[in-house]
Symmetry: C2
Amino acid sequence: MRHPLSSEPVTDRSSTRLSVLRLGHRRERDKRITSHLGLTARAFGADEVILSGEEDPSALETWNSVTERFGGNFECRYEAKPMGWLRRFSKSGTIIHLTMYGEPWREAVQNISRDAPIVVVVGGTKVPGELFKIADHNVSIGNQPHSEVAALAVFLESWVGTLDELTRFVGGEIEVIPSERAKRVRNSTD
Amino acid sequence: MRHPLSSEPVTDRSSTRLSVLRLGHRRERDKRITSHLGLTARAFGADEVILSGEEDPSALETWNSVTERFGGNFECRYEAKPMGWLRRFSKSGTIIHLTMYGEPWREAVQNISRDAPIVVVVGGTKVPGELFKIADHNVSIGNQPHSEVAALAVFLESWVGTLDELTRFVGGEIEVIPSERAKRVRNSTD
């Protein structure tokens, strides 16, 4: 079952800021996975990605560069103490932890409040046990091992629903024109 | 709009073998992205992943090892000449090319035949122009840059629908038991 709201366009999200927190980033080993994770957060409707683990300015640069070229208001930053940040966040927001051990997402997504800010937490290899406890929802995108990028994409697609890209990703230099047979791009700097 | 078939359990797929072809793999740079791509193919219902670009036994080892531990009949192999393979495949099967330049997936997915074998082609940085021509469908999962792993996951989730993991992933050593609060695993080798 798909969430009934999920195919409605997103119009006003001011009351439910949507963040993605990437735990346990390792600069060398996770470089491209973390980069894809932040771009996936942006493309599927998150308002910001928060990086934790090892500091990595190149990840933030990649995300900012894509936002500059393709538009929108996506934010990103580094958080040195993610568990402390989550404990504070949990007082007023909803924590969703994506994990292959959690409850099936198709059911879980229907029980998640749409009235409070949300953070979707995506772990690396090792996740603190405390996270399973402070999360409001431990959610699995299937119980098979696959990818945090895949999990985030499917979760956000289901939670956010159809994005109106033309109104969401404004102010960029590049706009891709959907096409059956070719690469079509509008470049505002031409 | 979600495809009407997508929430029905998959029962008989014998007539529509589902393959994923990874183009242009680079052993060092793409190691983890390609690894995640194959695991995503498996977890979301593909029957095989075909690797092309640079040969990389370690990718095949990762995929086989996960299948051995978590069950199912997922296959993988290397293909040295992917465009020739695609030209032959196109005579009897359907080629779906995932690209940020393509048609929106929600509409495209409804026009894809379910009667023939399917290959979902996922490019790397550079994709041969011929692919846009021989593909039956050039499909975009949004027109923003994000991740081939995200694109594959959302496409397969939409195309395959809900997998019955208990019947699909049989014969493995490890079974994850969905849980609200903990890591629960059944291990058949204990």
